[in-house]
């Protein structure tokens, strides 16, 4: 049996990355390198208001004083930040009025990715903001949303059209000097999505952004800001892919979420950046800062992520539970294979009274990969009656990979109830045998079991994404685990 599994795992290793094509779109590119001038130029090209330039420069000055974090369970090769392009935009003007104006090559790219840009063809119910090399190229369904007062547009546009909102919330959750990669993002971010849900509005459809890195040697630094006013609700999805290249490319995004009284934001990610080849060459470095603040009482932020791509993932979507009776959730599936490394988890910071958080993390490691969960649950002195439950499981497929769990529980209030559980194991042979006995072959059995293992997380995803995520996991484990 062991050898059979080895064989199956071998096959996993040989899977190709199916989104690894490259598109020849005419790009407007700034020269390599980073300095204040580059930052000013980015800001100029984007016709940004003054405060944004100031924000960038402050962040840049912070960043210069910072060092790349080394505490994660990751081996990160030295990154040459001067050998990188910080701005690349499709040449055709990014402001498009109809689909016909979109560069046909670009359209073809998104068609290949299966992303519905054309509103006629769109599956009803998903509004999309497509971002290629950090520039938003097309946002669909804007008018429908606008009727309800919902703003869903590219970040650059928001900066121009809603400067007050942007000024009020940008950096309020992830300050420009927060950490090395967030500071870098704050200095050079080129675009991203902006979402604003006004008081009392339930967003009638899923909002979604697709990210695509295309140009060589480009870093992608998008910035997403979601603000949900009192009693509002939105579900936001993001997906991402990149071409196959031998060099590593950097993706350092920042996502900020603010929820006011009784608002709820659900943020789902299916991350499928190019993971590098089976020798570990190439792939995206995914160093992302995601954080939400439940500012208003009874508000809720829920993160769901399915992480299958990237050569290195460094990512801790977090919730600051500031209002009373607020809720934070984190559901995660992280699958690593070949030489991938992931160090991901969450932080739940309990500040308000009666705050609750839930963490469900499912790691799957295969090949020679390293997969770590890292999390912090902090209950501050004033946070009476805080509740947290964390379940962090790791599944090992193969004997050359690693699975690690590093939770931190810092409890400063006696009324807190905090429970953390973690298990690490391989798939039970008795479970496989049970399936075999019912006529299911080992391959399917492993698939079934893995599916069951991640179900709790997948169930959190909106329907379309759940299907996609399941497919992704299947592809990643095809030939070995269904």
């Amino acid at each position: 049996m062991a050898s059979e599994q080895d064989k199956l795992l071998e096959e996993v290793t040989n899977r190709e990355y199916q989104y690894g094509f490259h598109s020849d779109i005419e790009m407007d590119v700034l020269p390599k390198g980073l300095n204040e001038e580059v930052i000013r130029e980015i800001s100029r090209r984007k016709q940004e208001p003054e405060f944004l330039l100031e924000f960038r420069l402050e962040a840049y000055r912070n960043w210069l004083k910072m060092e790349s974090p080394d505490w994660a369970h990751l081996k990160i090769p030295e990154i040459d930040f001067q050998d990188m392009i910080y701005y690349a935009a499709p040449k055709k003007k990014p402001q498009l009025n109809s689909m016909d104006e979109v560069d046909p090559e670009l359209r073809a790219t998104f068609d290949k990715l299966g992303i519905p840009l054309d509103e006629q063809k769109v599956l009803a119910g998903v509004a999309v903001d497509a971002i290629i090399d950090s520039v938003s190229v097309k946002t669909t369904f804007r008018e429908t949303l606008a009727e309800k007062g919902i703003i869903f547009c590219s970040f650059s546009e928001a900066a121009r059209e809603y400067p007050d909102l942007v000024k009020k919330y940008l950096g309020s959750v992830v300050p420009p000097g927060d950490n090395f990669f967030a500071a870098l993002n704050s200095a050079v971010f080129s675009d991203g999505s902006f979402v604003f849900i006004p008081k009392g509005v339930r967003c009638p459809m899923e909002l979604s952004s697709y990210f695509r890195i295309n140009t060589m040697n480009t870093g992608q630094f998008e910035r997403t800001l979601i603000v949900a006013e009192d009693d509002s609700y939105v579900s936001y999805l993001e997906g991402c892919t990149a071409p196959m290249r031998d060099e590593n490319q950097l993706h350092a995004a920042v996502v900020e979420i603010v929820t006011l009284d009784r608002a709820e934001v659900k943020y789902s990610t299916v991350q499928n950046w190019y993971p590098g080849n089976k020798e570990g060459k190439g792939g995206i470095y995914n160093f992302v800062t995601k954080r939400g603040i439940c500012k208003g009482d009874y508000s809720k932020i829920s993160w769901t992520q399915v992480e299958t791509g990237s050569a290195i993932t460094w990512k801790y979507p977090s919730c600051v539970l500031m209002g009373n009776n607020t809720v934070g959730e984190f559901y995660s599936v992280a699958l690593t294979n070949n030489y991938q490394q992931a160090d991901t988890g969450t932080k739940m910071i309990h500040l308000g009274k009666n705050t609750r958080s839930l963490i469900v993390s499912k790691g799957i490691s295969a090949g020679k990969s390293q997969n770590s969960y890292r999390g912090l649950v902090k209950v501050s002195k004033k946070a009476d009656n805080a509740r947290n439950f964390s379940q962090c499981d790791s599944l090992l497929l193969g004997d050359k990979c690693g699975a690690h769990t590093f939770p931190y529980l810092e409890i400063n209030n006696p009324s807190a109830k905090v429970e953390h559980e973690a298990t690490t194991s391989k798939i039970g042979e008795d479970q496989i045998f049970y399936c075999n006995q019912r006529g299911i072959d080992t391959e399917d059995a492993v698939g079934l079991i893995v599916n069951g293992y991640v179900k709790e997380v997948i169930n959190q995803l909106p329907m379309e994404f759940a299907v996609e995520a399941q497919k992704l996991l299947q592809i990643s484990l095809e030939g070995s685990v269904g």
Binding site: H73, C401, L409, I411, P414, K417, H420, A422, T423, T424
Partner: protein, 459 residues
Amino acid sequence: MQLSEHDIALQRLFAENRELIEKDAAPEVNAAREGAMEAFSKLGIPSSKVEAYKYTNLQAWFKAGYTQAYGLNGATSEALKQFECNVHELDSYTLFTVNGKFVAGSNVEALPDGVEAGSFAELSKKHPELLKRYYGSLAKVEEDGFVALNTLFATDGIFIYVPKGKVVEKPIQVVNVLTGEQDLMVNQRNLIVVEEQAQARVLFCDHTMSMSRFVVNTVTEGHVAESAMLDFYNLQNQHNGTVQVGAYHFDQETRSLLNANYFTLHTGVARNNIFSRLGGPHAENHISGLYVIDKNQHVDNFSFINHAVPDCESNELFKGVMDDASTGAFTGRIFVAPDAQRTNAYQSNNNLLLTENAKMNTRPQLEIYADDVKCSHGATVGQLDEHAMFYLRARGISKEEANILLMYAFAYEVIEKIQVPALKEQIRELVEKRFRGELDKCDSCVVCGQLGTGRVKSE
């Protein structure tokens, strides 16, 4: 790393007193000081920026201002006259240290043939082959500034040697007493070697007998050879002017069994560094701890269980009750090396916070590089189970009484692990009394039933 002024002062202190320190020590022990010096000049006393010491800052305590205990520092074995350690019915071989120096043994002549238990300074010279083989083999100077500091200053402590096949039935009780009029820094060094098929039970009782401040940095290395068994207990019952870093480094060979239990019933600041390396197949260990603290006490149990080879099992259980403004910390790392297949490793850490000023930080960690493993950890911080509470009250038991019963029940799981019945009974009683408030929490020698020496005024 930049050394602090205190680190530099400690280095100077060593240089100035080197002759005195080396005078009675074995050549190997003196030889090791070179490496220790180099390591210490790199590491210094770790600050709380060092990840392993994140929750306990010891830099504030380890200063050269304290008198180093090179000898008895005025305290004589007279001090022991007033000290009758009476764990009820505990029939044991007893060794005494005062301020890190071995002073006397009682009943040791009755030890089985070939078994040695006594002064580290003396026995290390008598058994150079053991010293050469084991000294510093587990507690590596380059890995921890405290080990480096200890290796630099170590002169004496306890040496226990149980040769092949010898079974020591009765516990060997080591009473470590801190006393004297002066504030002291103590670097005690212990070595325990249990050879193939041998068995021993060792009990370390740590006490304070005077109101001076004590800063203690103890290193104990314990080797458990093939098919051997070591049952180890540490009872810490020191006044609140004590700061103790206790490092316990164990390694285990094939089919060996280690039980290590740490009871912290009273202290000032206590940090236990517990390392255990399962180095031969089918080795097994059970490591547990109970800390019941109040006032401003601080207890940090740091453990690292290293599954270096396949087919081993480890079980770890630490429980704590934090009252008043006390703070607890726990770090437990389970490491499973590549190819250490069929590992079973379990760990749990449960805590009760009794007041709004009590705090707990816990970090259970799994680092796993083999796939055929069953590993789990769990950690909880909370209060007593409300369902159990209601059940007890519904039977007519008052809230206060139910509280005590349930706190005791909480601690019970750890107490149950004690393999020496008389000791278990003693601890059981003490813990229950402790919860009832019938013991003066500040009595310095709760474990051995001594009268308190009062509290050291807090700084």
